[in-house]
Each structure stands twice: as C-alpha cells, then as structure tokens.
C-alpha cells in the first residue's frame, strides 16, 4: 500500500526531488512502521529530538511527505567525545496506493514518535442502473 519513492538507509542523507536545501544540516531517513486496519492506515515514524511544532506533513495527490526539524543539540562548555548518532533533520516520502479521506487525517507527535492516522476513503458505491420498461 505504501510504497517508498526512495530506498535509502536511515543514516544516509536523503535528497528529495534532487533539490538542495538551504539549511546546512544532515538529513536522515527516519525509521517507520506502517500498518493497515480495515478502515485506516497508521504510520509511526521515529524522529527523536523533534518537537510537535517541528513536524511538517504534506499530502499531495498520493505523495505523502514527512519532515521533521530537530532542535540544535550543541551543548555549551561541553565537547563531544563519542558519537553513535548525528543531529539533523528527517525527511521521508511515501506514495500511497489507496484513497485517503483527507479531512480525517490525524497526526500527533509524542516522545519523538510521529503517529499519523490516515482513514481510508469510503469506496465508491456501486450504482445499480435500472432499466426503464417502455
């Protein structure tokens, strides 16, 4: 159902639509869980360090873009001596294969995890055409 436009590793900076960013930060592809129930599709995206006001979600036709802007992690009077993760922003784009009810989309960011609930649009009802008897 949800197909990714690009397959990239998490710690590899992504480049969407080949354009260049003006902010000189690293961009990561966040880890995501996607599952589907009968009436909705749920996305869980790990974006540690991103507050709720740093999330930017856009849905254009069937392209769902998720962006997260993390706060700066520099510390005063400290110097970094060991690093296993880098500070930066998050970007990931999915293509949805199902129609989504745009008005019913719900998004919440808690503890660095974005939860996006996309309700499926009601299937177009089959119409029965009756023949008029002459």
């Amino acid at each position: 159902m949800a197909q990714e436009l690009q397959t990239t590793d998490r710690k590899v900076p992504s480049k969407l639509d080949g354009s260049e960013r003006t902010r000189s930060r690293q961009v990561f592809v966040p880890r995501a869980d996607i599952y589907e129930t009968t009436d909705q599709v749920v996305l869980l995206v790990d974006m540690p360090g991103v507050a709720s006001d740093g999330v930017d979600i856009t849905l254009e036709k069937r392209t769902l873009a998720i962006r997260g802007y993390a706060a700066d992690q520099q510390r005063e009077s400290y110097r970094q001596i060991y690093a296993e993760y880098g500070a930066g922003d998050y970007e990931r784009v999915f293509t949805l294969s199902e129609d989504i009810d745009r008005d019913g989309i719900e998004a919440s960011q808690k503890d660095g995890v974005l939860r996006l609930v996309l309700p499926k649009a009601a299937p177009a009802k089959a119409r029965k055409i009756e023949l008029k008897t002459a």
Partner: protein, 142 residues
C-alpha cells in the same frame, strides 16, 4: 585458510565448508548497519568535571527507563512496547522489545549527583565527578 588443516588431520570438507560459511556470514554481517547498531544509540559529551550522555529513545516514556550508576558505568534499561493491534504490516523498521546497555564513562562519577531529563525522545543524563576526584590547583608559596 584452506591449507590450514591439510597436513595434520587430512582434508575435512565439512570443516572447510563450515569455516567458509562462517567467514561469509562475518563478511555479509557488516553490510547490515542497522542490525549491528546497538539500541539505544548514545553520544558522550565531556565537560569540566562532568560528563553528559545523550541517547535516542523515541517512543519511550520517561517512566519506562531505568538508570543505574556504578563507579564509572551507566546502565540504561527499558522496554519499547510493540504494537499489539492485529493488522496488516507494510513496514516494520522500528526496533522494539527490551533493551539494556552499559556505557563506560571516562571517570568515576558521584551517584548522588546525577541529573536525567527526557525531551522529545531524547534522554540526557548529566553525571559529575565526585568532589574528592576533582583536580585542584595548587598554589606555590613564594
């Protein structure tokens, strides 16, 4: 590698096959960066008489993390609960389950002086060197 056991016990094809398999696994194992990475990933920051440990713990409530300090080690323990809704999975990349990680710090720390904060899935633990271990400036008498 192939010649290693020839002279002594003769050629054992099964032994060689196992060895090759092992070698292959080791080589391919390095390609999966995600699996090799420990959870949670940590960064270490060194200040004057203090050290700060930051860790990425998305989706974990502050109450679900256990921190213990002993001499010069810090242990992070906790659990990331899995989604139990019955549903069709399209993608499952986020790790879940129990985790435990012990980090060696550059010096002994005072267990009484530890501050821990969690914000937006980032854990920050600040640890201080015990008073007795701090460096002292010695005045030279003229």
């Amino acid at each position: 590698m192939l010649l290693s056991d020839f002279g002594r016990i003769g050629f054992d094809p099964f032994l060689e096959m196992r060895r090759m398999q092992q070698e292959m696994n080791q080589r391919l194992g390095g390609l999966r960066t995600d699996a090799a990475q420990e959870f949670p990933p940590v960064n270490l920051w060194l200040g004057e008489d203090s050290v700060a440990v930051t860790a990425e713990l998305p989706g974990i409530a502050p109450d679900d993390v256990d921190l213990t300090v002993r001499e010069n080690t810090l242990t992070l323990k906790g659990e990331r609960k899995a989604q139990d809704e019955t549903s069709v999975w399209h993608r499952r990349e986020r790790p879940n389950g129990r985790f435990s990680r012990t980090i060696q710090l550059p010096f002994r720390v005072d267990p009484e002086q530890v501050e821990a904060r969690v914000a937006n899935g980032l854990l920050e633990v600040e640890l201080h060197r015990p008073e007795a271990d701090r460096q002292r400036k010695i005045q030279i008498k003229g």
